[in-house]
């Protein structure tokens, strides 16, 4: 069983890395880019599917995301 965790900075938190990417896109001539936010993807393969969603949520809360500044989303891949 595979899951994908997507961690992004909260909207209220300034994202200098996203801004730098935005600047680089503009420098390459890509017009019409409103704004860029960056984050990370963590793929987890579970050997035991029992209680998967609750366990993944606990992993996010305890380690994978720092909820002071980050939001997370869990997607079951298969």
């Amino acid at each position: 069983m595979k899951a994908r965790i997507i961690v992004t900075l909260k909207q209220s938190v300034l994202d200098p890395q996203g801004q730098a990417i935005e600047g680089a896109l503009a420098a390459l001539g890509f017009d019409g880019v409103g704004s860029v936010r960056q984050g990370k993807i963590i793929d987890i393969e579970l050997s035991d599917p029992v209680n998967a969603e609750a366990r993944l949520k606990a992993m996010c809360e305890k380690l994978l995301a720092n909820t002071v500044i980050e939001d997370y989303r869990v997607e079951m891949v298969d």
Partner: protein, 227 residues
């Protein structure tokens, strides 16, 4: 003063810290590996030094904050043992929940290695009582993730409770930290985290001794206790 310096994989400032501690105590500081589960007994100080524990993977200090030794550090901190986290140690204390907020990537996105002016905002803590309130000292910084962030309510509470211990002097904020915060203390007053490196200004050979009073402050009550 009996002190322990915690060593994580990727810590690289423990020797500077030990050298600074030796200036204020006759007892050799103990280096404790992160995989240990128990700290030595009778400690007067626990130090989490600077470096890049676990290569800053996931988030700076995130993995080390979940190391085996951390459980005992949290236990001792709750029992009142003084804990000092410098740079990566500050990041780990925040990640471990011993201090509020988080240290984010520097606003400039650049690694910053230089000297800043540091204002002693609270000179009544166990770590700063030998400084004068409002005193400005020199102190080096060397970090990529020193941009202190907390929500507005937390920042207001830190200020109202006089828990902002250090601020970057006007115009020297090197990382975009909110309200120029360089170091904070917990509500009980025994856990201090700071981004600048006071251990690196404790000998005239290093260019100054502005950081020495921090270590003397910690050692003074400990010596009195022993006497």
């Amino acid at each position: 003063m009996k002190s322990a310096v915690i060593l994580f994989p990727g810590t690289n400032r423990e020797r500077d810290m030990v050298a600074a501690l030796k200036k204020v105590t006759d007892i050799e500081p103990v280096i404790v590996w992160h995989a240990e589960t128990t700290l030595p007994g009778g400690l007067d100080l626990i130090v989490l030094p600077g470096g890049f524990s676990y290569g800053d993977y996931l988030r700076a200090g995130a993995i080390s904050a979940r190391s085996p030794i951390m459980r005992d550090i949290i236990r001792r901190a709750e029992a009142g043992v003084p804990v000092l986290g410098v740079c990566n140690g500050f990041q780990a204390l925040c990640e471990a929940g011993l201090l509020p907020g988080v240290l984010m990537r520097n606003a400039s996105l650049k690694f910053v290695c230089r000297e800043v002016k540091l204002e002693i905002v609270n000179a009544e803590t166990a770590f700063t009582h030998l400084y004068r309130p409002g005193q400005i000292i020199r102190c080096p910084v060397a970090h990529h993730d020193g941009n202190y962030f907390a929500d507005k309510a937390t920042l207001d509470r830190l200020e109202a409770e006089n828990r902002v211990v250090f601020r970057y002097g006007q115009g020297t904020n090197p990382n975009g930290s909110q309200r120029d915060i360089a170091g904070i203390i917990n509500a009980a007053g025994n856990v201090l985290g700071m981004m600048p490196h006071p251990e690196d200004l404790t000998d005239p050979l290093l260019g100054g001794i502005d950081g020495l009073a921090l270590f003397e402050s910690i050692a003074t009550p400990a010596r009195e206790k022993a006497a």
